[in-house]
């Protein structure tokens, strides 16, 4: 029986996966997953099977983002059903294999949760990436994580944009969760970034255990008390979650041949999540001129100067701040 109107029931989350190396040069996830493949004690939780998994082993071996094509854009319905076997690009073959192991995408057999670990050269701090504004399970998880790491911060980026949304490796699961931590150069491992990602995952797995089993151990009970987290009768009360909703992709200014002719302005560089107002400096040309933001209102830019997005025609994305309401949830 629920204490709340509109409480949503979910099945217990029994099968969870942690993907590292979806991009082979994003080192925190690669290193964590390799550690956990060797010794999974840290990621064990009562009643959950948690599988650490290197998504793109060939790219990891070469320490490159991808070999033929971006794996994290490869999970479209066309790719997943494409015939051709060995003739297909490596990452398309890999996407089909991942869909076999952890999916099929959209079916009842698919994994309950996939955490997909990423790094960015942008100054985004810890960011959780949500693919649907209506996934109440994920919204509740993200609310829990944010409260658990206070006063440290973790923001939520929602990409539900009809054109800018893309088919991620984690989208195979019922509840896909992206975890993006930066700034970290590609191919480099920074211990502070590594530890931050590790802590977020710990809390995410705690949430799942809590959802399935209730507060099974003293540490979890103590943590809930410290967080002043109401958890009664195996039900998570309704909550609000502030999200940054992806609006628009902004490319670098280019010349007629497609060459970049300006850089992210020093006033904007590293200012992820800070308001960008019409008239504010946005780009600086190589000969020193400023180009200003010409939008109609204030936006919140992120993924500012991500190395991998130069080829995707993206200098940064703009977002708008919204507050989503998550229904109460409990297990079925």
């Amino acid at each position: 029986m629920s204490a709340y109107k509109n409480s949503v029931c979910f099945n217990e989350a029994r099968r969870v996966a942690i993907f590292g190396g979806t991009h082979g040069n994003e080192m925190s996830g690669v290193t964590l997953v390799n550690l956990w493949v060797k010794n999974s004690a840290e990621i064990q939780r009562k009643g959950v099977e948690t599988k650490p998994f290197i998504a793109n082993p060939k790219a990891v071996e070469k320490c490159t983002r991808y070999v033929d094509t971006d794996l994290n854009r490869a999970f479209s319905p066309e790719n997943l059903s494409a015939p051709g076997g060995d003739d297909l690009p490596y990452e398309v073959q890999r996407a089909q294999e991942i869909n076999r192991i952890f999916g099929p995408k959209g079916s009842p057999e698919a994994y309950d949760v996939i955490f997909d670990l990423h790094n960015t050269t942008s100054n985004m701090g810890c960011t959780l990436i949500l693919e649907s504004s209506k996934d109440h399970f994920n919204l509740q998880m993200m609310n829990y994580i944010k409260k658990a790491i206070t006063p440290a911060s973790c923001l939520v980026l929602l990409n539900e944009h009809p054109l800018l949304k893309y088919s991620t490796s984690r989208s195979v699961a019922k509840h896909p969760v992206g975890l993006e931590v930066g700034p970290q150069p590609q191919g480099v491992l920074r211990s502070n970034i590594f530890e931050a990602m590790r802590v977020i995952l710990k809390h995410a797995l705690d949430f799942i255990e809590l959802f399935n089993e209730g507060p099974v151990c003293n540490t979890l009970e103590t943590l809930l008390a410290e967080m002043e987290y109401k958890f009664i009768g195996m039900e998570f009360p309704p909550c609000t979650v502030e999200v940054f909703w992806v609006s628009e992709r902004i490319d670098y200014p280019r010349d007629a041949n497609g060459n970049i002719i300006a850089m992210v302005h020093p006033n904007l560089q590293d200012c992820d999540w800070e308001p960008l107002n019409p008239g504010d400096p946005m780009f600086q040309t190589f000969d020193g001129k400023t180009i200003h933001y010409q939008g109609s209102g204030t936006v919140y830019p992120t993924f500012i100067n991500e190395a991998a997005y130069y080829e995707k025609q993206q200098a940064f994305v703009t977002t708008r701040r919204e507050t989503l309401v998550a229904s109460a949830i409990r297990k079925a």
């Binding site: 390799n34 590609q186 491992l189 992210v264 020093p266 100067n305």
Partner: protein, 321 residues
């Protein structure tokens, strides 16, 4: 004791040709964009037909165009290790790696290394993921041209130099970080632009004084698993980004993935640099260590034409103050 040499003003031939090279590593973008911009400015100046004779001619080069196009450090092999005499003068097989072919092309354009035709000064532009700020790397601590070009100098080994900047009679690399590979940060680009401008300005005026020099002593690799050889620790957070801050015995060096601190066990305090440079993981280098010392450098000025003829005729006269 004041050395007599310092009272002598050393006379050196004029620097008539300077090369500025970007994209020796194709993903170190400040140099790529800066050379492209300088090429644009040069083209514009030529179109406006500025005919006055310049005291210095500047050759602008994008060293590794194929790697630049792919935004990778290199295609087959590191271009900046291909400039030993042996590599440059060795035979070229049909299956030679791209960078080996390219190094010979660059040697023809800017050298040949070791000959009188070589450019006078090569400035090779690089970025690093390490927090080194603006830093200049040379191969000799008695090349007065290079030492006079800048106030802070990193000298590496006295082995023969394998890198592009060794092709000129004088040369150095200008290294700026932190900047992730494949990214251009406007502040880093601007610092490099200023550095190159400053360097070219200096070429017209000779300077004197002393310089603090960092001489490389050794590299330290990451701790590795004895069986798999995989890295088992990261640079300690207290060392990360602290390039050129003195490292004392027992200071934290690495942090293992299980949280243990590994400490510096050397006896001598040394200066760390290239801390956590991405491209050095494959070379087995987590950081490099250097000693600091002060080098007194004599005043220098450009040779007059008579002095140049005299030295060519082998009379070897030197001006004495």
């Amino acid at each position: 004791m004041y050395s007599m040499t310092l009272h002598k003003v050393v006379c050196l031939p004029r620097l008539s040709r300077v090369a500025v090279c970007g994209g020796t590593h194709g993903n170190e973008l400040s140099g790529v964009y800066l050379v492209r911009e300088l090429l644009k400015e040069e083209k514009k100046a030529m179109e406006e037909e500025e005919e006055e004779e310049k005291p210095v001619s500047v050759v602008l080069v994008l060293s590794n165009p194929w790697a630049i196009q792919q935004c990778r450090r290199y295609v087959k092999t590191d271009l900046n290790r291909c400039f030993t005499h042996a590599s440059l003068n060795g035979p070229l097989s049909d299956s030679a790696p791209y960078e080996l072919i390219r190094s010979k092309e660059l040697n023809t354009l800017l050298g040949p290394k070791g000959s009188p035709e070589a450019v006078d000064l090569v400035c090779d532009l690089h970025n690093t993921t390490a927090n080194m700020g603006l830093c200049l790397i040379a191969y000799s601590d008695c090349d007065w041209i290079c030492l006079h070009t800048f106030k802070h100098l990193q000298a590496s080994t006295s082995k023969e130099s394998y890198s592009l900047d060794s092709v000129g009679k004088h040369g150095f690399a200008m290294e700026i970080g932190p900047q992730p590979h494949g990214v251009v940060r406007s502040n880093i680009y601007t610092a490099m632009k200023f550095g190159v401008q400053h360097m070219l300005d200096w070429v017209r005026f000779f300077n004197s004084g002393f310089v603090d020099v960092f001489t490389m002593v050794k590299h330290i690799d990451y701790p590795r698993d004895s069986e798999t050889h995989n890295i088992i620790a990261a640079i300690h957070p207290q060392l990360q980004d602290r390039d050129f801050c003195l490292l004392h015995p027992e200071d934290p060096l690495f942090q293992t993935f299980s949280g243990e601190t590994l400490r510096y066990k050397g006896k001598e305090p040394l200066y760390p640099f290239f801390i956590n440079e991405c491209a050095y993981y494959e070379k087995g280098i987590a950081l490099s260590l250097a000693r600091k010392r002060r080098v007194m450098i004599p005043a220098i000025r450009v040779q007059t034409e008579q002095e140049q003829q005299a030295s060519e005729q082998g009379f070897g006269s030197e001006e004495e103050e």
